[in-house]
Structures are given as structure tokens and as C-alpha cells.
């Protein structure tokens, strides 16, 4: 158990879905665990920027860890979500061929899936496609009944909260800058929040895992950011599709092609694109890709119009394969052969979300082989999330308001989030307080008005609750303040009023009088 403040048996670097799953798996044992995460909350790396699909495992090469852990993860996912009170729905997936040439691709996928022991795969014809998906055109499809969807950020949060509850410590806003090994036994970890020591380090820093490895002198890994952009569609059009709908993957592609993904909350995602970029912090969306996505998806589903888009976003894949090569390299999950007790997780790209739990179990196995960990007798695998008022039946709603009038106040009109849920989110056990943290926990600000109605209300609740200055409220921690303070009472410079024009006169229009600035 934890001895002094910043001394732990195991330090996990990175609070993504993988780091949090590892923390939870390790919390089954009697050891002290710390998760160091540079952002203001867990999951803000790749783990909140993906498709949220629990893959079945037919896309991965037989014999790889990717295939093995994907299939295992898929099988245990429903139970994991049940324990952690995370939404999960097994809606099935269609890989749709639109041209004759693509049918072979379907057969190959099916054969690969069978080798990986994926259950229930079936090739269906166009009438069956029409029956399953009336709005879709295709000549044949691979149907995968085991493919499911989940909420990737709620899962990450739930894993973290459960680990926390079972004794793990979480340090947010804590960025690892340097690591040294002392006396060949302890690691000294330097962060922006002081020093930590530990016997083990687990490097699950996602896109930055190559950097963390390099800090201790392991130079063999290199991760390339490969961006995937998405559009999110309004819930009003969720009736368009019932299953996940994918194209037949192209050989050598580093993604699965632009697909349609119903989300657990009833939106549809279009994406992701597949583009190697230079910077690992560039989550921008671009106009070319945004247009391409709209166009490409209409070949599938002509009914989709750009008017249904409520938001766009992007995620970065941690690719080991350089852009010249493309494709998938297998997950690396191993103890360093040069530095003892330093465990690297490299290239945890898709299906990393699906495989998070088996990956975590593998890490525990590596440690267990060396340490013979003793079980934590108090380990409790269950965790409760925030109750969603909107999803309850009428009787329950009535009772909830009776128990707590805060359930009677709708704060977010689009997603029907009540004040009670906002308060629970604000008081989350990890202590994350920014607007994005509230958004992921409650869905407030995620609807079609994107916070137009609730932003002000949430700011007021936050300030009331924590006695914050206006400047202290942030979108996502750090420098992302929302307000510059209170309204000033004095006018900064005198404004001289001009003669007003009569309506008959042409209105003045200033063209090309931009303030000096660089050409973009």
C-alpha cells in the first residue's frame, strides 16, 4: 500500500482507456498504483476520439495479439459494461459490397474471422441487406452479429472510478517529463507536479508512448499520428440505419474505410478519414476532409444531407507503420529487455478500445510472473454511473423529483439533462471540473444546440458550487478559460457617434480593410 505521498509500487503513465483498464485490473491486487495523466481528466487522448465500436475481430490478422485480444475483449465486453454501469448495445455490423469485385473481399474477411474464432459471421445477399437496412444499397454484405457499440469516454471514466474506488490514485494535470532509474531499483519520475517514485512503470501514454520510452533510453519505437475526422449527425436522423455499416476495406489501408456508426446515444457518426499528419496535438478538422466525408457517405446512403451534421471532430491513431507502408502493425505489450520493470504498450490503435481489458490482463500477467501479487480482498468490480433522468419511465421520474427537486430542473434542453445530473458530474470522484468533463459525463452540451441553452446555466452551477472566479472556469483545463472576468463598468475609449444615414442612402460597406496580419 501507499507509503509516503508520491511513492508507489506501480506508476501508470497515461489515463486513456488502456491505462485506466490496467489500473482497474491491478487494483484487484494488494499493491499501490498511481495513474499520471497530463490532461484535466481521463480519456481525452484517443480514448474519447474514436468510433466507440466493440469490434468482433474479423479485421485482424490471425495469430496477432490484435486478433486475439479483440475477440476476447468482444466476448467479455457486455459483462464489463454491466459491472461498470456503462451503456453497451450489440447492434451488429454490415460490411457492404457495392461492386462485384468487392465480394471476394467479403469472403476473405469471413475466412479471416472464422480463423480468429469470431462467431456468427454470414454473407448475405441484397434482399437480406434491404431487410436489415432499408435505406442502404449493396449487392452483398458480411453480417457480423457480435459487433457492438459502447460509450468510449464513459467506459474510460468508469474504469478509472472503479480503480479509484479500489485504491488506485489518480493524478490529473500531471505530465511526465523525465524518468530515471535510481540504484537500478526505483524509478524516479519527474512531472510538472513534482516527483514520483515507483518500482514499476507502465507506459500507456498512447500516441506519446514512443516519447516516454525514449525518455528512459528505449529508442526502438516510433509512433506516427494518423488522423481520422468524423461528422456527427443529429439524433433526428438516427432512423437512417440500424447497424454499423462499413465499406469493404482496401488493401494496405490503415483504417477501415469511411463508415456509418450509430452511437450509443442515438447519433450517427460518419468517418473516419485516414491521413498521416505531423503533429500529435493537431485535432483540427479540415474543410477538404469534411467535404470528402459528406460526399463519400452519400454514395452509401443518398438520404444523408449536410444539414444533419451537428458537429465534427477528429482522433489520432498511434501508428507504428510509417505512412510509406501503411496498414496495421501488431500491438506491442512487453517488458523492456533493457530496463527491468518498465512495461511498454506501443501502437495501441484500433481495436484498442475493444481490447482494453485483455490488454490490461496481459500487463498484470507480466507483473504477476515476477511478483506473485496477493489479491486485494476488498476489491469490488462494481461501479455505478450517473443515473440518466431522461431514460427512466414516468413513475421513476416522478419519484426521483420527489426525492430530489433538482431532478425537476432541465439544464440541457436537447439531451434533457437535469440539474441533479450536472451536480453529480461536477462532484465526480476524479475531481475533474471543466466543461468537457461535465459534457462527457452527462451529455449536456452534446446535442443539436451545442450548449446554446445550457452553457450559461452550467457556468452558474459550477461557480455556485465551488466558489470559482469567472476566469477559473475552463472548457478543458489549462489555458482554455471561457470568461475574462466580470463586465467592466467603465468604457475603455470614448465612442464618437457619427451622423446616422437615412434609409434612402446606400449603406456603407468596408471592403478589404483588414487589420494588418499575416497572409494565411
Amino acid at each position: 500500500m501507499k507509503t509516503t505521498n508520491n511513492q508507489f509500487d506501480v506508476v501508470i503513465i497515461g489515463g486513456g482507456v488502456v491505462g485506466c483498464a490496467i489500473a482497474r485490473e491491478l487494483s484487484r491486487y494488494n499493491i499501490s498504483i498511481a495513474v499520471l495523466e497530463k490532461e484535466d481528466d481521463v480519456g481525452w487522448g484517443t480514448s474519447c476520439r474514436n468510433s466507440g465500436v466493440v469490434h468482433a475481430g474479423f479485421n485482424n490478422k490471425p495469430g496477432t495479439l490484435m486478433a486475439k485480444f479483440c475477440v476476447e475483449g468482444n466476448r467479455s465486453f457486455a459483462e464489463l459494461c454491466r459491472q461498470l454501469d456503462v451503456p453497451y448495445k450489440k447492434i451488429g455490423k454490415l460490411v457492404v459490397a457495392r461492386k462485384k469485385e468487392e465480394i471476394k473481399g467479403l469472403k476473405d474477411l469471413k475466412a479471416q474471422g472464422n480463423k480468429n474464432q469470431v462467431k456468427g459471421l454470414e454473407i448475405i445477399d441484397s434482399t437480406e441487406i434491404k431487410r436489415l437496412e432499408p435505406n442502404l444499397a449493396g449487392i452483398a454484405a458480411l453480417y457480423s452479429p457480435e459487433t457492438a457499440i459502447t460509450s468510449p469516454y464513459l467506459l474510460t471514466i468508469a474504469l478509472a472510478e472503479n480503480a479509484l474506488n479500489n485504491g488506485a490514485s489518480f493524478f490529473l494535470n500531471t505530465e511526465v517529463k523525465n524518468i530515471t532509474k535510481l540504484n537500478n531499483s526505483y524509478f524516479k519520475i519527474t512531472t510538472n507536479q513534482g516527483e514520483f517514485t515507483s518500482s514499476y512503470i507502465i507506459n500507456s501514454a498512447g500516441l506519446y508512448a514512443d516519447y516516454i520510452a525514449r525518455v528512459v533510453g528505449i529508442r526502438r519505437y516510433c509512433l506516427y499520428p494518423c488522423r481520422g475526422e468524423y461528422h456527427i449527425l443529429d439524433k433526428n436522423v438516427s432512423w437512417l440505419i440500424n447497424h454499423l455499416v462499413y465499406p469493404v476495406p482496401q488493401a494496405g489501408a490503415g483504417g477501415l474505410g469511411v463508415h456509418l456508426t450509430p452511437t450509443i446515444d442515438g447519433n450517427i457518426l460518419i468517418g473516419p478519414s485516414n491521413e498521416y499528419i505531423r503533429r500529435k496535438d493537431n485535432f483540427s478538422t479540415t474543410s477538404q476532409i469534411m467535404k470528402m466525408l459528406s460526399k463519400e457517405v452519400r454514395e452509401f446512403l443518398p438520404l444523408i444531407s449536410p444539414g444533419y451534421i451537428i458537429r465534427s471532430y477528429s482522433g489520432l491513431r498511434a501508428k507504428q507503420a510509417p505512412s510509406s507502408e501503411g496498414g496495421f502493425w501488431d500491438f506491442v505489450i512487453e517488458e523492456s529487455d533493457t530496463i527491468d520493470n518498465f512495461i511498454n504498450l506501443i501502437g495501441i490503435e484500433s481495436p484498442g478500445l475493444t481490447a482494453a481489458q485483455p490488454i490490461a490482463q496481459r500487463v498484470v500477467e507480466i507483473i504477476n510472473k515476477k511478483e506473485r501479487l496477493s489479491p486485494n480482498p476488498d476489491f469490488n468490480p462494481y461501479r455505478k454511473g450517473i443515473l440518466r433522468f431522461e431514460e427512466q419511465d414516468e413513475e421513476t421520474k416522478k419519484n426521483l423529483i420527489k426525492q430530489d427537486p433538482d431532478y425537476g430542473e432541465i439544464v440541457c434542453r436537447c439531451e434533457k439533462v437535469t440539474k441533479k445530473e450536472i451536480l453529480e458530474a461536477i462532484n465526480n470522484p476524479l475531481g475533474a471540473r471543466s466543461l468537457i468533463s461535465i459534457k462527457y459525463r452527462t451529455r449536456a452540451m452534446m446535442g443539436r444546440c451545442q450548449g446554446g441553452y445550457c452553457l450559461t446555466r452550467i457556468i452558474e452551477i459550477l461557480r455556485e458550487h465551488f466558489d470559482l472566479n469567472p476566469e477559473e472556469i475552463t472548457l478543458k483545463g489549462d489555458n482554455s478559460y471561457l470568461l475574462t472576468g466580470y463586465r467592466s463598468d467603465e468604457v475603455s475609449k470614448p465612442c464618437k457617434k457619427k451622423k446616422s444615414l437615412s434609409l434612402e442612402e446606400e449603406l456603407p460597406v468596408w471592403q478589404q480593410q483588414l487589420p494588418a496580419g499575416k497572409k494565411g
Binding site: 493537431n282 483540427s284 471561457l482 467592466s488 449603406l507 494565411g520
Partner: protein, 395 residues
């Protein structure tokens, strides 16, 4: 409130006004500038003052209202489910008047590419934060879209000591009222860049810059016109959308152009006995028209309650050239009817024609037209008598 007051004036006893906000008055409460009520009250009032005139009437006429109470459901059987801190309540009514107002279009909806920092606000949210909550939202501001709220906020921000660098408008003309361009931009030397839009956003935490580019005739970016503007705030005033989630839920047919319900000349939606007025029906630029529209549709509400609103005919109002939309979209009776329009583009010396086939029913000359200004024209029952079809166009 205008509809509720009109209902009471017409002798309707049993009325309930439901509001999710903490006070009556809706969006008016945050519009602290003046210019409201010129037509209705012959005075230039601020938004809250205009609302207050109605609040007084609501109280004086003893019209019951609920505050902090959100309607969660609306059924075609005219039942609503409301929640507030007292519980969840069902109300069944003979008629329902929808007056839910509108919401703002967002960055996501118009698809501005780029990074996702803080400091991007819709104009209405900025207005609420500054005017109602006393916060300041930034120091150096670029405004996208020349809708009225954007223009009013440009002036507001200057008066609060911020720097407003420019207002960029995608269209070759402004979508705000001329008087607002005049009083909010011209008077304060704020440049208005027509045919310009934002094509990129920079900033990791807080917004650090916006790239503005000029658009060609077809709407594409003209190469070489991109410019990076350093700023910490981007304000979007890029359109309002009638708030019709409840209408949709009830199965009311919406007009894809107005975003509001399709209505007949009494403001009645596709579900008999459910009426709509104000911004939920069509986005208005002047609040006086909202009040007038509410009073006007109440005539139909009374007729409906008395069983006099019968369907005597079904004429679809056809839209010809030059016009973006018309309300009402259909005619069912033989009554004097007020038509509201928006034109497609600004113009001068135009004529609005009402025709039945080749026969001219009415013609109205308009000296200046502007998409920002709603055109309202009344046709008498006599003029509409006996027609089988109706088409309107602008030449």
C-alpha cells in the same frame, strides 16, 4: 404572453402559460438595447421593458403561469407533460399554442474547420453571459455573420471595452436590419466584410486566431485571400432555427425552409387545435410582429374552441420566383389573411404578385426588399373568395 393575453381578452377562461425559464419574457430579457415596440406601443423600449408590458397584463388578467417548468412531451391528443421541482405533471387541453421561440445555429452546424479551443460563442449566448450574468467573454473579437444579434453584440462588446476587429459575412449582402448596420457598425467604425467567411480556427486552450477568406461568386474561397486574424474570441451570428423538437415529437409537419410548422391562415398546424406563433413558426426580426402574429392566430383559437374553424377548402400556397418562403403555407377557410414572406435577395422597386393561374388577385409594390426584413401583406376574404389556387412571386 401576447397569445395568452389575447386569449383572455377574447373571453377564454381556462389558460395556462408554461415557461421553462426563471422569468417570463423569453429572449427579450437579454435584449437590453432599445428599439422594441415602435409599432405596438409607439415607443422605443428595451427588450425587458417590452416584456414587462406583457407581464403586467398577464398578472392583471390573472392568467396562471408556471416558471422553471419544462415541457418534455407533446402528444397529438394535445396533452403535455411538464416537469418542475414539484414533480411531473400532465395537462390536457382543447387547444395548444406553441410559442417556444428559436435557437441559434452553431459552429458544428455550419462546419467551420480547425482546432477546437474555448472562446467560440454564438451571439445569443454571449448576449446572455454579458447582459444577464454580468460576465465578459473576451478582449479581441471577430464576428462571423451579420445577423441582427451579431450586429447588436458588436456594439455591446465595444461599449464593454472589447475590441471588435470585424464582422465577416458570407453573403454579398448583410442579413441584418439596415438600422442595425448603421447604428451598430457604422457608428463605431467596425468593418463589415461582405463575401467573407472563416476557413480555419487556431488555438489549443483559448482561441488564438481565425483565418478569414474572401468568397467568390459560387461560394468558393478565392485563392490568395486568406488572412490570419489574431483574436481571442469568435462570435457566431449565423442564423436562428425555430425550436420545434416538441412539434416534431407530436408529429406536426414542418416546413423545411422556415423550420417552423406548416400552418393555415389561422396559424393552425397539421394537427387540428395546435397552433403556432412567434419565432417557433418563423424567425422574426421585429418583436412587434411577434405580438401581432400571436394576437392574429388567437382569432383562430377562439373559432376552434367554438367549433367554427371548419375546413372549407384546401389550397396550397405556391411559391414562385424571388421568394424564400411564405407563411401560411395553406388556406382552409375564407378569412382575411396576413401573409408573411422573406425574399431571396436584396432588391429595389419590386412587385409582389398574388395570382390564380393567369389571373392577378393582388399586387403590391415594394420600394426596397431585403431578406433581413419580413414582408407582411394582408389579403381580404373578398380577394380570396372563390379561388382554387394561389401563387405568389416577386418580380
Amino acid at each position: 404572453m401576447a397569445a395568452a393575453v389575447a386569449c383572455r381578452q377574447k373571453g377564454i377562461e381556462d389558460i395556462l402559460l408554461i415557461e421553462r425559464g426563471a422569468y417570463l419574457g423569453g429572449i427579450l430579457n437579454q435584449c437590453i438595447h432599445d428599439g422594441f415596440g415602435l409599432e405596438k406601443f409607439h415607443a422605443s423600449l428595451t427588450g425587458p421593458e417590452y416584456a414587462q408590458r406583457y407581464i403586467e397584463q398577464v398578472i392583471e388578467k390573472d392568467i396562471p403561469f408556471l416558471l422553471n417548468s419544462t415541457v418534455l412531451n407533446l402528444t397529438p391528443q394535445k396533452e403535455v407533460i411538464v416537469i418542475n421541482d414539484k414533480g411531473l405533471h400532465h395537462y390536457k387541453a382543447k387547444t395548444i399554442i406553441l410559442a417556444m421561440g428559436c435557437r441559434e445555429r452553431t459552429r458544428g452546424a455550419i462546419g467551420i474547420p480547425g482546432a477546437r479551443p474555448s472562446g467560440i460563442y454564438t451571439a445569443g449566448v454571449a448576449q446572455e453571459l454579458i447582459n444577464l450574468k454580468n460576465y465578459m467573454i473576451g478582449k479581441k473579437v471577430v464576428i462571423l455573420g451579420s445577423g441582427d444579434i451579431g450586429l447588436i453584440m458588436a456594439r455591446r462588446l465595444i461599449l464593454e471595452g472589447a475590441e471588435v476587429l470585424m464582422v465577416a459575412e458570407k453573403l454579398p449582402y448583410s442579413s441584418g436590419l439596415p438600422r442595425n448596420i448603421n447604428q451598430c457598425l457604422y457608428d463605431f467604425d467596425i468593418p463589415l466584410l461582405l463575401s467573407h467567411t472563416a476557413v480555419d480556427i487556431k488555438g489549443n486552450g483559448r482561441l488564438s486566431g481565425v483565418t478569414i477568406a474572401q468568397l467568390g461568386k459560387r461560394g468558393g474561397v478565392i485563392p490568395g485571400t486568406k488572412r490570419r486574424i489574431a483574436c481571442d474570441t469568435l462570435l457566431l451570428s449565423v442564423g436562428l432555427i425555430p425550436e420545434n423538437e416538441l412539434s416534431r415529437q407530436a408529429g406536426i409537419i414542418l416546413d423545411p425552409v422556415t423550420g417552423g410548422p406548416q400552418v393555415d391562415e389561422r396559424g393552425q398546424t397539421s394537427i387540428p387545435g395546435i397552433f403556432a406563433c412567434g419565432n417557433v413558426l418563423q424567425v422574426h426580426d421585429i418583436v412587434d410582429n411577434v405580438s401581432l402574429e400571436a394576437e392574429y392566430i388567437v382569432e383562430g383559437v377562439v373559432e376552434y374552441l367554438e367549433g367554427r374553424l371548419t375546413k372549407e377548402r384546401e389550397i396550397k400556397v405556391e411559391l414562385g420566383e424571388g421568394l424564400r418562403y411564405v407563411v401560411p403555407q395553406r388556406l382552409i377557410s375564407r378569412k382575411d389573411t396576413i401573409f408573411s414572406f422573406r425574399v431571396n435577395q436584396p432588391g429595389q422597386h419590386k412587385v409582389l404578385l398574388f395570382e390564380e393561374g393567369r389571373r392577378l388577385i393582388k399586387k403590391k409594390s415594394l420600394r426596397r426588399v431585403n431578406p433581413a426584413e419580413m414582408v407582411r401583406v394582408k389579403l381580404s376574404s373578398l380577394e380570396l373568395e372563390g379561388i382554387k389556387r394561389l401563387k405568389v412571386r416577386l418580380v
